[in-house]
Symmetry: C2
Subunit: 177 residues, 2 copies
Amino acid sequence: MALAEAILVCLTERPMSGYDLAKNFDASIGFFWRASHQQIYRELGRLREKGYVLSEEVSQNGKPNRIIHTLTPAGKKALRDWSTKPAKHPSLKDDLLVKFYALENVDLDALKDQMTIRIEQHQTKLVKYVRIKERYYDGKDLDLTQKGKLIVLEQGILQESQTIERLEDMMVKLGNL
Amino acid sequence: MALAEAILVCLTERPMSGYDLAKNFDASIGFFWRASHQQIYRELGRLREKGYVLSEEVSQNGKPNRIIHTLTPAGKKALRDWSTKPAKHPSLKDDLLVKFYALENVDLDALKDQMTIRIEQHQTKLVKYVRIKERYYDGKDLDLTQKGKLIVLEQGILQESQTIERLEDMMVKLGNL
DNA sequence: GGCAACATGTAACTTGTTACATGATTCC
DNA sequence: GGAATCATGTAACAAGTTACATGTTGCC
């Protein structure tokens, strides 16, 4: 289970509230590990119990109070330990490909529409990644952590553009049946 | 939830036992939808209750009895209905990329080892796909369903080889830090 | 005799999703 | 006045994992 670790990874950057984390999981780290705010709050509770994070309430003028979670030395150690354990193969589950597996029992027009939507989703992602790269990484001096993030970002950019190409190819094949 | 539908899709091909389905989820359809035998048996129970499959015990000489599940017309209809509903974005969760996100808090040598293993896993998959294509699809006359499977298979082959390239590129970058 | 493959399941637990619940501030 | 964003959570349920449980046949 790497949700715990994904949260710890986020907190290496800076202490954050559950809300901040949820936004992060919608943006940066969420590009390859998605989690809802409910999951994050539940997991934060467990991390607190284990002593991997320290949670402190901070009052803000006007706005509701925030609870800021800070990575503890124990949390940092847990993260390093986890990093040495073998990575699991990523879980793959794709509706769309399942549908291709029984073309005779499927609505082909609906499938084409879904392909179009899927392609657009990947294009949106691609644009997002490229913008982030240009804004935060291009032409900057980077430390080790930033270099790691850049590697992932560049791999994401490649992956998205290749995925789009493959989906477009599938669309053509679907049209020529 | 598409596990139910993935099972129904498998059963369009031919009636099968839970054991057969589990093997299928280890091989063909499992390339983009993984499920354990426990999940499959549980789901088969539900599909039976809904009337989407018909389950009949068949005795075999010597071997333990098998329970053969057949897709019903209601199941076929459910499948077509499902096919028109929007596909979900595939769930992405990748340990390995999470680890890249906090390079300073991670064991770099261990990470490299994990990358090597990951690359090998994709190579194994690639070989498997290519063999299946050669053995069952190349130079054959194909019906609609087989054509759909071939499309997925070819997209899988491309995906795997591109993934291997990207991972190798990441390895090089990791070495040059 | 032992191991792999065949064959089907239950139980306990962890993860992930959907819906509900509340309340403040800021911008239009 | 209404919508969006900020901010935190609970409850119920669905899906996925791990461990347990049992018994056969066929091959070496």
